[in-house]
């Protein structure tokens, strides 16, 4: 949630909103955490194939409790189910798929997104144990990188910025950001506000954004089903 804004979207609502934009027939990689929720909110009838970087294309949700097979897991190391039409590949081939530009959309989390598309989502900075996993491969390899994140940090600092302070995951990679308050495109000119929570004014969202927020006409109202 972004500060005290009661009308900010919930995590599930943010996932729902991003999921609406995943096109029919797309091959999609969902990052660990919040992005993973998108798979539950695809519009009916839309065929989307999920890839997990450990080497599976075409999987479904977790199996019933007690039926987990830990030889059938996703990148978060959670047990999954396999769908008809799936395929298994080794790690070399799986990242060839990612690096080679075959994944239509990677939906990722973020610490920071800069208005040139720079993404920081792997390292909270110096200290502790670093771990990068497949974040950089996805950031630079997917045809489109979308970010789903709260608009500001828990302490209220903007996550959309002019320049990432944290170590980059990828340079100039993010195309679109779904926050709990807005939908924002990353364009050549910078951030462009496409949708905005009806409860929030343009001035207010600009205050909460660490880089200029451009308008191309009136932003549409950001909506998601209640109760998610």
């Amino acid at each position: 949630m972004s500060g005290d804004l009661s009308m900010a979207l919930s995590r599930k609502q943010m996932a729902w909103r991003a999921a609406q934009d995943i096109s029919d027939g797309a091959y999609v990689n969902l990052g660990i955490g919040l992005p993973t929720l998108c798979s539950g909110y695809l519009p009916k009838g839309r065929l989307v194939t999920f890839q997990s970087e450990n080497g599976i294309l075409g999987f479904g949700g977790p199996p019933p409790k007690g039926e987990e097979d830990y030889d059938l897991i996703n990148a978060s190391k959670g047990a999954i189910t396999i769908l008809p039409g799936a395929s298994i590949v080794h790690h070399g081939d799986s990242f060839a798929m990612i690096r080679g530009g075959h994944i239509d959309i990677a939906v990722l989390g973020a610490f920071e997104v800069a208005n040139n598309g720079d993404l920081a989502n792997w390292s909270p900075g110096p200290g502790g144990v670093p771990g990068v996993g497949g974040a950089m491969d996805l950031a630079s390899g997917a045809r489109a990188v979308w970010v789903v994140t709260t608009h500001v940090t828990k302490s209220g600092a903007p996550k959309l910025v002019e320049r990432c302070a944290l170590p980059l995951t990828g340079a100039k990679v993010v195309k679109r950001v779904y926050t709990d308050l807005a939908v924002i495109d990353v364009t050549e000119a910078g951030f462009v506000l496409r949708e905005l929570s009806p409860e929030v004014s343009v001035d207010r969202i600009r205050e909460m954004t660490g880089a200029p927020l451009l308008l191309e006409g009136e932003p549409a109202p950001l909506k998601a089903p209640a109760g998610l």
Binding site: I73, H91, R99, V129, M136, T169
Partner: protein
């Protein structure tokens, strides 16, 4: 061949690739045999750096590992690695997961170096040669080879042809090819002809030693049960 015999050539200071992504595909029995074998000063290549107190985590706990080359050492219970790392007692080479996979693949495929866009412009590109190719910023990465690979397979035939179970395939095929000596634990060993030539995932040319582990342990289950090795 027994587990002990299978790992017996592993020498002090060796570089050892260990298959698996998390617990899936992790050759726990071979890793435990390696602990018993007692080689020290190892460099281990794995996607992670061990979880709980079995498998790779137990190998690290035993003090046998000097360096880990991996993409993500921060697993759910990475205490073995974390404690040693923060105390400066184990080295870490952090590699993006796809670059790790491609470096291992290059090691097996005889490609000494390649340019990749992954990590270009990031801190992990530091010290690496950078070059723009066809408008794309890239960095040069080198192959990764090992003295030994420890790999978990499903079926093996006596020529060393292998299959893997579902996503347990992960690093197995590329690690088999990138090691001077590839040591495999297989759930079932069949005669040549027992695997359809079109379904072989790792051709026998890459496999040097096979040991039969009919009912392999699954790391996730052991960790959930707080198992400890030895």
């Amino acid at each position: 061949m027994s587990l002990a015999e299978a790992v017996s050539p592993i020498f002090d200071g060796a570089t050892v690739m260990i298959s698996g992504f998390g617990g899936s595909g992790a050759p726990l029995e071979l890793v435990h045999a390696l602990i018993d074998h007692g080689a020290r000063g190892l460099t281990v290549v794995n996607n992670n750096a061990g979880t709980g107190r079995v498998g790779l985590a137990a190998l690290i706990d035993s003090g046998a590992v000097e360096k880990v080359i991996c993409s993500y050492p921060r697993t759910s219970d990475a205490r073995a690695f974390t404690g040693r790392y923060l105390a400066g007692r184990i080295a870490l080479e952090l590699v993006p997961q796809g670059t790790l996979a491609e470096r291992i693949r290059a090691g097996g495929a005889g490609i000494p170096a390649f340019f990749t866009p992954t990590a270009a412009g990031t801190d992990l590109a530091e010290g690496k040669e950078a070059r723009e190719i066809e408008g794309v910023p890239c960095i040069l990465e080198h192959w990764l080879r090992a003295d030994f690979a420890l790999v978990k397979a499903d079926l093996a035939d006596t020529y060393g042809n292998l299959t893997y179970r579902l996503t347990a395939r992960n690093f197995g095929p590329i690690m088999c090819a990138a090691a001077d000596l590839c040591i495999v634990q297989a759930r079932e060993i069949v005669e040549p002809g027992g695997i359809d030539p079109e379904h072989v995932i790792t051709p026998g040319i890459y496999v040097h030693r096979i040991t039969h582990v009919p009912d392999p342990a699954q790391e996730e289950i052991l960790v959930a049960n707080n198992a400890v090795y030895p």
